[in-house]
Symmetry: C2
Subunit: 347 residues, 2 copies
Amino acid sequence: MLIALFAGDGIGPEIVAQAKRVLDALAIPGLTYEEGLVGGAAYKAVGHPLPPETLELAKRADAILFGAVGDPDCDALERHLRPEQAILGLRKHLGLFSNLRPAKVFPELANESALKPEVAAAIDLLIVRETNGDVYFGEKGFRTTADGLREGYDVMSYNEAEVRRIAHAGFQAARARRGKLCSVDKANVLETSQLWRDTVIAVSADYPDVALSHMYVDNAAMQLVRNPGQFDVIVTGNLFGDILSDQASMCVGSIGMLASATLNEGNQGLYEPIHGSAPDIAGTGKANPLATILSAAMMLRYSLNLPEQADRIEAAVAGALRGGARSADLGGAMTTVEMADAVLAAL
Amino acid sequence: MLIALFAGDGIGPEIVAQAKRVLDALAIPGLTYEEGLVGGAAYKAVGHPLPPETLELAKRADAILFGAVGDPDCDALERHLRPEQAILGLRKHLGLFSNLRPAKVFPELANESALKPEVAAAIDLLIVRETNGDVYFGEKGFRTTADGLREGYDVMSYNEAEVRRIAHAGFQAARARRGKLCSVDKANVLETSQLWRDTVIAVSADYPDVALSHMYVDNAAMQLVRNPGQFDVIVTGNLFGDILSDQASMCVGSIGMLASATLNEGNQGLYEPIHGSAPDIAGTGKANPLATILSAAMMLRYSLNLPEQADRIEAAVAGALRGGARSADLGGAMTTVEMADAVLAAL
Ligand SMILES: CC(C)[C@H](C(=O)O)[C@@H](O)C(=O)O
Ligand SMILES: CC(C)[C@H](C(=O)O)[C@@H](O)C(=O)O
C-alpha cells in the first residue's frame, strides 16, 4: 500500500517527519512511501503549488499524509499559484468531498481550553464538512459595476447530488456514534442553504434511527461556545464547516491536537492536522506533532483498514499526555522530537 | 423626534414594552412614538412582513427601536414573505449598512460565560458588520445543472464603494476606542475577500493612527474563543459578521445582554437586541429585556445625540445587575417586568 507524504510549508516537514517515525515503529508490512512537493515549497522549487508529478502521485496513492501549506512569501502571487491551491486542488481533483474533523478533549488537557473545564470536558463531536463545492469552487473573479466600480464576486452553490452524498456521510457517521445529526445552514437567507436543508431532509428518510436537527450557522457558532456537549455529529457546507471546525478545535484546547481525514467515494483519503503551517515557529522545533500523528492514526483506520494499529497510536498519544508530555502550545517546553519520543515510548 | 417602535414576533412585544417604560422614565422632551407591524406578526395581520405603511414610517422616523422577528409558523412561506425579510428589507431600503455590535462583560456576569472567567472578563470588543451587501443581497435562486440536477445558488460580492464606507466606519470606531482594527475575510479563497482586503488597505492610508491587522475568518472564530481580549474593533462583511457577532455574544455570557445599532449615512438608525424572537419562551414573561433596554441607550447616543441619557440607562443596567437582578438566562428567576423594574429603580 502506497502512502504519499506531502510535507508542505512551515512546520509541515517537521511534523510529518515525526508522524513517519511513529508509523515506522509499527512496522506494518507492505507499506511504502513516496514524497511529493506541495504548497509554497513546490512553487519555489518548480513554479506551481501542485505540480503534475505531485497530483499523479496523489492519484496513485492509497492515502496521503499531509503536513500544511501556507507561506507569507507567496501572498502576492496570483491566486492559482498560491500555496492554498495545493490543498484545494487535491480535494477537487481526487473528489475528496467528505472532511471529518473530530473534536474531543483528552482529559489531561481539559484545563487548556479557554472554556470552563466542565464545559470543555463534555465535548465529543464530529464535524462532517463538505469540501468539493460551495463558494470555494464556484465561478469567481473581478468585474466592473455599472457605476465603474471594481467588484469582487464568488458564486455559492450546491446541487442535490452534492448535498446527498455528504448528507449520507453525516448520517452514517451519526449512526456509528450517538445517533444525533445536526445540519447547519443559513436557510433563512440563502437559497443554497434552502436546497441543502430540503435535500438533507429527503435523505433522512433512509435513517429513521438518527435524530436530525437543523441550526442556523450563527446560532451554531453560539452554541459551540455555550454548550458544545450538546453536539454529536454536525454536517455542513464547505465555508461554514471551515469556520465552525476551527472554532470547535479551539474549544478543545490547542489546535495542535486536532486531526482530520478527507475521503472520496473510494475511501482514498487525505490526512492532515487542522492547524496551518505556522510560519512563525517553523524551524524552531517547537511545533506540536500530535495532530499529525493522530491524522496518521485516522489514515490507518479509514484508508488502510488497520483499526487496531490506529487504536495503538491513539492510546500511545493519550499515554504520552498522561505521562506529562507537553509542547509549548500545551503550556510545556517539550520539542517536536521529544513529543514524538514520548509517543514512541508509550507505543 | 420620532421613534418607530417595531416589536415584531415572539418575545419582541414584551421586551420592547419594557424598553419603552425605561425611555418614558427619562421624560425626554420632544420624543414621540409610533408603532408599526413587522415580521410574522405583520404577515399574519396584513399579508406581508414589511408592509408599505411600516416602511413609510421607518423612513420618516429618526430612529427605530426593533424587537425581533422570526416565527416558526412562517417557515414554509416563500422567501419574500418570511419574517426575516422585515429586518433585511429595512436594512436595505434605509441604507442601514453599518451594524455595530459591542461585546463587553459586565463584571457581575463574568461567571455566566462558558469561557473561563479570566478569559471572559478581558472581552471589550466591537464588531462592525456590513449589512447592505455580500451574499445576503446578491442574485439568488434555483436552477438546473447540465445533468438535470436541482441547484441552489447565491452570488457573493462586494464593490470598492461598499467596502470603503464600512472600512471608514471601522477605522473611525477604532480611533474612538483603543486604536486597533482587525479586518476579517477569507482572502485565501474568495475574490470578494481579496477586493475587501485591498480596499481596506487603501482606506488605511487615511488612518495612520489606527493599527490595522487582517485575519482569516476561520482563524478569527478560533481566536474569539482562545483569546477574545486581543480584539478592539473587528470590521467584516455581512455573512462573517453574522457568525462572529453571535459567537462573541455568547463569549460574553448570555445573548440576552447584547445590544446593536445599524446606521445609515445620515445616522438614522435601527436599534435591536442581537438575540432573536425566542418563540419557545414567548408569552411566559421570562425574556431578559436588558439587551433591548441597552439598544434604546445606543439609540439615544447615536441617533438622538443624547449621550448623557444613554449613560444613565447603561449605569442603571449595571446598577440593577450589581443589585442582583437576574432573569432566567442569567441563572435567576426574575421576570421580564421585574428586570425592567430593577433598571427603573436604579435609574
Ligand atoms: C488553507 C485553506 C484554503 C483551507 C480551507 O479554507 O479549506 C483551510 O483553512 C482548511 O480548513 O483546510
Ligand atoms: C434574521 C437574520 C436574517 C439576521 C441576519 O442573518 O442578519 C440575524 O441573524 C441577524 O444577525 O440580525
